[in-house]
Symmetry: C2
Subunit: 292 residues, 2 copies
Amino acid sequence: MSDPANKLPIGIFDSGVGGLTVYRALHDRLPNERFIYLGDTARVPYGTKSLATVERYAIENSEFLASLGIKMLVVACNTASALALPAIRAKIGIEVVGVIGPGGRRAVEVTSGRERPVIGVIATEATVSSGAYQAAIQRASATAEVIQQGCPLFVPLAEEGWTREPETYSIAERYLARIRESRPDALVLGCTHYPILRDVIQSTIGEDVQLIDSGEATADEVVALLAELGLADPDEVGGSRRLCDDLDHFFVTDAAERFANVAERFLGTTPSKLEAIEVYGLDQVKGGSVIK
Amino acid sequence: MSDPANKLPIGIFDSGVGGLTVYRALHDRLPNERFIYLGDTARVPYGTKSLATVERYAIENSEFLASLGIKMLVVACNTASALALPAIRAKIGIEVVGVIGPGGRRAVEVTSGRERPVIGVIATEATVSSGAYQAAIQRASATAEVIQQGCPLFVPLAEEGWTREPETYSIAERYLARIRESRPDALVLGCTHYPILRDVIQSTIGEDVQLIDSGEATADEVVALLAELGLADPDEVGGSRRLCDDLDHFFVTDAAERFANVAERFLGTTPSKLEAIEVYGLDQVKGGSVIK
């Protein structure tokens, strides 16, 4: 018989819908696991907000997921990973995985053939200001040169689904010109929304530049970590496993319908179990209350 | 001696910085009055959020301002005005003025020479979905035809300060083409951010179309309402009165520094008195607590 902790789901939170790309990457790799996803759609975006506020939101989200019983927490949001991991770890007693470390390490891995790799990082303003990717990359490589660029309009463009519009190409050209001039070996997509604009970004930065999806890199590290900690669920789940089936539970803090629509666009399916909740002031509210 | 209520300041709230344009319009017209401004920068934007959430945020903001002692509340945010006025009025016992009614009435006034005026409205998705401008215009004119268009990328473009970029013109062309085809007599700027993009919008919709700034229209109605209710302050304030001087008090729920930078861009000056506070769960927290 397996340890009861192994039977708990894995928690994932994001500031909104972007983290669904991380959910998909985890789901693809871990057919025995169940997931609880929280999208903080009432307070999205995080990328333009301050350290103090991002920390507060991240802790509230983490405590909500921890209160439901999870064996590991994946912080899918790059901004929250960049700013709030120490604060989250200080608050909850379970393993916490962010996306910055895995993304940074993957960038170093794929450029390991170069003596002095040049790695571009595109992210929100808050993530860029934190310097977290730069630090993660330079911990993994003493010689890597890192060039960062904030791309604040990419999130609203992705949310609007403007993935092929000429304006999106033009804005990408403006944001990426400086990094392209430095002839990067790899470019980290340092925000969960950016994989949605992958085609635009790839064609603008150049086809020879390897794009790093931090969510994919994180999913690989979660697989390894579950094994290392002996937390993987050894039992196959019953029935056929598909994305968003009723073994996975989705929560949003606002606008469940909009979330379902975007999920359909991202994943080709909508969550079977989707609930709107409040997470703020959880110590008063205990477990969140259904607002919709 | 004047009634003590006359000496109270006027409260203004917005989802963020856009309402500063309404503050300026009020300040220009009311040199004897003091203002308290709250920008809910921790939860901006409202325009993509649900009715339930916008109502909750609007009530929290209103209760915070009411707790400081104000004689009138101006809801500068179009989305909150469109969705939450009845909820706010049910909660606080002071006069509440939104921007939708004044903006709609002004549009009807300026097109009153037309037998069947055509009025365009551009706004956030939430404001458009609410139908509030349509209702306000049609209450003032039985014959007006209203054509609405959501322009979700205008807020991030204005926040980025992209007021002359070719991409902004191109995006405006895309959003405004349908309204322009209907040959409108007037176009309502139904979001406090849009006046920042006034030049782009005017040149795209056509120089002969009259743009309606709901904030300006609202300020005119506030002047009239103060007189009507006998709430105007008859005494001149001491010293020379200028925008953002220390008689006006500014609060934000996040990132005071960013707010000060945007205020500099919008108003050419920064608030003398600017504080970051929390407004959520105010019934527990009582009066907000300083978070920064």
